[in-house]
């Protein structure tokens, strides 16, 4: 007993000494404890670690700026995301929403007001205190400020085109009011919070001395890294283009492990910029990287070296990544020009789209393009989302009980085509329209994406087998996007990013959505099925009850996949990842969080 006390006391001394050296004198009362290794928590499989070491990982592109608010691409946000935190966050293991800078929140009974209670006594990485002013600044002066160029404003907009009103109650309480009930607003309020004391000087609204729009170029790559301030685990320390970004530990980070050790464990977090995934693969095999996201094609090589080199290749054929991959069928083809009447009529026939769905040889795609490491996809909502219709209830296990499967079947596809009068009329081996002209459809994807090109090749090959002529023409990515938006494409294979929130797809699947590119004319004249989808999407956001929302989104997903078929889904790559065994807690890696992709960066350590 005495011994234990002594040991504990000793430990405490060591830790407090460490803490003094690193920033906080003692653990702030409102620190967030990550229950590493504690039973009945999502972290049961994890271990509390030890501090120290430099972690190396790799990425393909250079960062473009250090400004999280105006950044458009992950090459920048992978760093700014580590530097900053939001009021709430998604748990890297369970994908559930959990408190972050806010320690708790209450939702009013009418669902129109959310009150966030902030953690007290936290400090920015430069030692300045964190208060409600930073939250108000981030929302009112940055995200909702018209002078600031930001994508985040678009996720804050409410169904009636108004924005939430964010007000300060006291130094540690913030209230958000919306004009209508909007379930995803809680998630949107998780946008990163920025330091007012460091950034207010660049905002014209607060500092009229600077011209309008100054903030858009604030915190650029030429900013001295010592000026960068954040709340996240790591802060950028130095940057060399095409070589590396080095991040240092935030001395005031407020995450602690159950032993009272301040996180993150790593002293430094270094991201090497490499020009190709082949080079990063070589660097990983050469021992220069501690963890790496890998391609399906690289799995056999790494698997064969796993034991000998002491790393682990995480391969889970059943666990797909976020995002969708699909064939878009342009139902408005030639509408504006008054051409392509045959095609338009054909594309608007549900059975044609169903025939196409039967032509997607998913197994061949998975075998030859993904090395067996992908799963068939049928829903626009990501597999990982708690709203995925393959689950039994909100956040429940995936059973795929209600999956809408269009199995690969040349016979069924041929039968459907025969049924709508698309048959070979002149005996040349190719199917024709009723007027005798040959059905000849162009299939596009972006040149250079070998996987999508491969899907096109396989689909066109199978279509030819039943006499349906698809001409595969790869085009430049921007051309493809232009084709989508101008409704001049015929069949297009592309993908979209995804996430846990189904409503993020509203812009795509709503009949008047800006990305409803396969049927823009639906904005004025939606079909019955599209009307139903619109209604379901509206219903999904206006309830705060997740279980109720789940049922709504389930019906929505099944309707889209079975009746609408505007997009025919293909396959989704499985999660593949590799890390050296010396990286503790690397086993928690999942499509949402990896040691090298953030998410686990604060809790991984060197054994």
């Amino acid at each position: 007993m005495k011994k234990t006390v002594l040991v504990l006391l000793g430990l405490l001394l060591v830790f407090s000494a460490l803490a003094i050296a690193q920033g906080y004198e003692t653990m702030p009362a409102d620190a967030k404890i990550i229950p590493l290794g504690q039973a009945d928590t999502p972290y049961a499989d994890a271990q509390p670690g030890v501090r120290g070491g430099i972690f190396y990982c790799a990425t393909i592109s250079n960062p473009k700026k250090w400004n999280d608010v105006t950044a458009h691409e992950t090459s920048t946000t992978q760093y700014t995301g580590l530097m900053l935190e939001g009021l709430i966050s998604t748990n890297p293991v369970t994908v559930a929403i959990e408190p972050e800078l806010a320690k708790s929140w209450d939702v009013s009974e009418d669902g129109l007001t959310i009150t966030f209670h902030l953690r007290q006594g936290l400090k920015w990485s430069d030692g300045e205190p964190f208060t409600a002013d930073d939250v108000i600044f981030s929302f009112n002066d940055l995200y909702l400020n018209e002078d600031v160029e930001t994508d985040t404003r678009d996720i804050l907009v409410l169904p009636d085109d108004s924005y939430p009103v964010v007000t300060k109650i006291d130094d540690y309480t913030v209230q958000v009011t919306t004009s209508v009930v909007f379930r995803p607003i809680l998630n949107s309020m998780g946008a990163n919070i920025l330091p007012k004391h460091a950034l207010a000087q660049y905002v014209h609204k607060l500092n009229p001395d600077v011209p309008v729009g100054t903030f858009n170029s604030a915190w650029g790559l030429d900013t001295d890294p010592s000026e960068l301030v954040g709340m996240g685990p790591f802060i950028v320390e130095s940057y060399t283009p095409d070589q590396n970004v080095t991040m240092r530990r935030n001395p005031y980070y407020y995450h602690y492990d159950p032993n009272g050790v301040q996180l993150p464990y790593f002293d430094k977090y270094v991201v090497l910029t490499v020009a190709s995934q082949d080079v990063s693969l070589l660097k990983f095999r050469n021992g220069e990287l501690d963890a790496l996201g890998i391609r399906a094609a690289d799995v056999p090589i790494l698997k064969s070296e796993e034991a000998q080199k002491g790393f682990t290749v995480l391969v889970n054929p059943d666990l797909p990544n976020y995002g969708t991959s699909w064939i878009g069928i342009n139902e408005d083809i030639g509408l504006a020009e008054g051409t392509h009447d045959n095609e338009r009529a054909l594309f608007r026939t549900r059975d044609f789209r169903a025939a196409l769905a039967h032509l997607v040889d998913k197994q061949a795609i998975i075998d030859s393009l993904y090395n067996g490491l992908a799963v068939p996809q049928w829903s626009p909502v990501s597999y990982l989302s708690p709203f995925y219709a393959g689950r039994d209830y909100y956040g429940g296990p995936v059973t795929e009980k209600d999956a809408v499967i269009f199995e690969y079947s040349l016979d069924k596809a041929a039968e459907l085509l025969d049924g709508i009068g698309i048959v070979d009329r002149d005996g040349d081996g190719w199917r024709d329209y009723e007027d005798g002209t040959r059905v000849e459809i162009e299939l596009n994807t972006n040149a250079g994406n070998t996987v999508r090109e491969g899907i096109c090749l396989i689909v066109a090959d199978r279509a030819a087998k039943i006499g349906l002529k698809l001409n595969f023409v790869p085009v430049d990515f921007n051309t493809l996007v232009n084709k989508l938006f101008a409704s001049t494409g015929e069949l297009i294979i592309l993908g979209l990013t995804g996430g846990p929130e189904p409503n993020n797809g509203a812009n795509v699947y709503k009949s008047d959505g800006g990305l409803h590119f396969w049927h823009y004319s639906a904005a004025d004249n939606p079909t019955e099925v599209e009307k139903k989808i619109d209604e379901l999407l509206d219903a999904g956001v206006s309830t705060l009850d997740n279980d109720k929302a789940f049922e709504i989104y389930k019906e929505y997903q099944i309707t889209l996949a079975k009746d609408d078929l505007g997009l025919v889904y293909t396959v989704n790559s499985a999660f593949t990842y590799a890390y050296y065994n010396k990286v503790g807690n690397g086993n928690l890696s999942s499509p949402v969080a990896t040691p090298g992709g953030g998410g686990l960066a604060d809790i991984c350590y060197f054994k």
Partner: protein
């Protein structure tokens, strides 16, 4: 300039001294024949050209046909020996693909119950020979005694189970054609503008020189990339992409060539025989055709031969940077680029075979050009 003159050997005793002057081309040919590496190069080029022209005949399959159950099949093993003894005629076995879930590698096992002999002139997929004659005779294929067919992948198969040998044969067409097409397109421009510039001089020369300089001031690879990106915007069919690449390569290469031709013409124009022709009252056209053209042609032949390998490599480089020939069409550059990754090198090295074809043909063209240059030189015009 005579940079590449061979040492002239003094006539040996006993050599017959002929006084009939052989034609210029005969002499070049004679000198060329002495150059061993050059001859090997020419022979290789001829073989490759024949292969490309009759590609569909030599290839056992259609280059687009997918045999997915043979995805990443290694090259077929040609057997000569079985339990039943030695057979002079090679045969293959059918293979079955299974996927090893432990190693994530496909495994191919031979089914030795039935032999499929390599036979010549077998019937297969239909095609048009030279684009004209419809036929289904292929040079070779594997058939059993009872006429059953087995796949034979001389160079293995790609991800979709397409026969690499077939694709190399078809791809050679594009790769071998890029250089000649650029020359066909660019040389007339260079010859015309460079010729006029050199022959007439003065204001015309001045103007054309400045015009050419604009093109020479445009950096080669960067502008190729910009043109490639601009072209990719039109969603061109594969054939047009090919011509787009040729156009782009022409744009960046014609001006330099024109400048050299101008210099050539300028030098010849000042030679005695041209001056005398002029004094004799020959017209410009006659002087150009009778006196200048023959002297420039041999140079052009050499320049053409040495341009081709550079263009082949450019085509491959463009493929790597994403602006080259792309699916469903194919070329050696595209094939090599698709295989140039770590899993290609380590897991399915047979996919790198197209690279061997690039190297060999570039070498062959260079040797041939080098030998031609040596051969042409006695006339001291290069």
């Amino acid at each position: 300039m005579g940079l590449f003159r061979r040492e002239k050997e003094p006539p040996r005793e006993g050599d017959k001294q002929e006084y009939v002057s052989p034609s210029q081309w005969k002499m070049i040919w004679r000198a060329f024949r002495k150059h061993r590496l050059g001859n090997v190069g020419m022979a290789i080029i001829l073989v490759l050209i024949v292969g490309a022209v009759f590609a569909e005949f030599f290839a056992p399959y259609d280059y687009k046909d997918q045999y997915n159950s043979y995805s990443f099949s290694p090259p077929s093993t040609l057997h000569f020996r079985s339990e039943s003894g030695f057979s002079l005629r090679p045969f293959v076995y059918k293979t079955k693909r299974t996927f090893d879930r432990e190693t994530y590698r496909p495994v191919f096992t031979e089914d030795t119950s039935k032999k499929y002999y390599i036979r010549l002139f077998v019937r297969g997929s239909e095609y048009r020979l030279l684009g004209l004659f419809k036929t289904n005779i292929h040079f070779f294929g594997a058939r059993s005694e009872d006429g059953d067919e087995a796949m034979v992948f001389l160079f293995g198969a790609d991800a979709y189970g397409r026969d690499l040998f077939t694709r190399v044969m078809i791809g050679g067409r594009i790769s071998l054609a890029v250089g000649p097409f650029v020359i066909l397109l660019g040389f007339p421009i260079s010859i015309f503008l460079g010729g006029i510039s050199g022959y007439y001089g003065g204001g015309v020369d001045m103007f054309l020189q400045r015009f050419g300089e604009v093109f020479m001031a445009i950096p080669g690879l960067p502008i190729l990339l910009v043109i490639g990106a601009a072209l990719s915007g039109f969603g061109l069919s594969a054939v047009l992409v090919f011509f787009g690449i040729i156009g782009a390569l022409t744009i960046v290469s014609w001006a330099g060539m024109a400048r050299v031709i101008r210099g050539q013409v300028l030098a010849i124009r000042q030679m005695d025989f041209v001056s005398s022709a002029k004094a004799a009252g020959a017209s410009d056209v006659r002087i150009i055709i009778r006196h200048i053209a023959p002297n420039v042609t041999s140079y052009l032949v050499v320049a053409a031969t040495l341009t081709i390998p550079g263009m082949m490599l450019s085509e491959a480089a463009l493929s790597f940077l994403g602006y080259g020939i792309h699916e469903p069409m194919t070329s050696w550059g595209q094939l090599l680029n698709a295989a140039t990754n770590i899993s290609g090198i380590q897991e399915h090295p047979w996919l790198l075979i197209p690279g061997v074809f690039i190297v060999i043909s570039v070498l062959a063209f260079n040797f041939m050009g080098d030998a031609l240059r040596d051969a042409v030189d006695p006339f001291s015009i290069v």
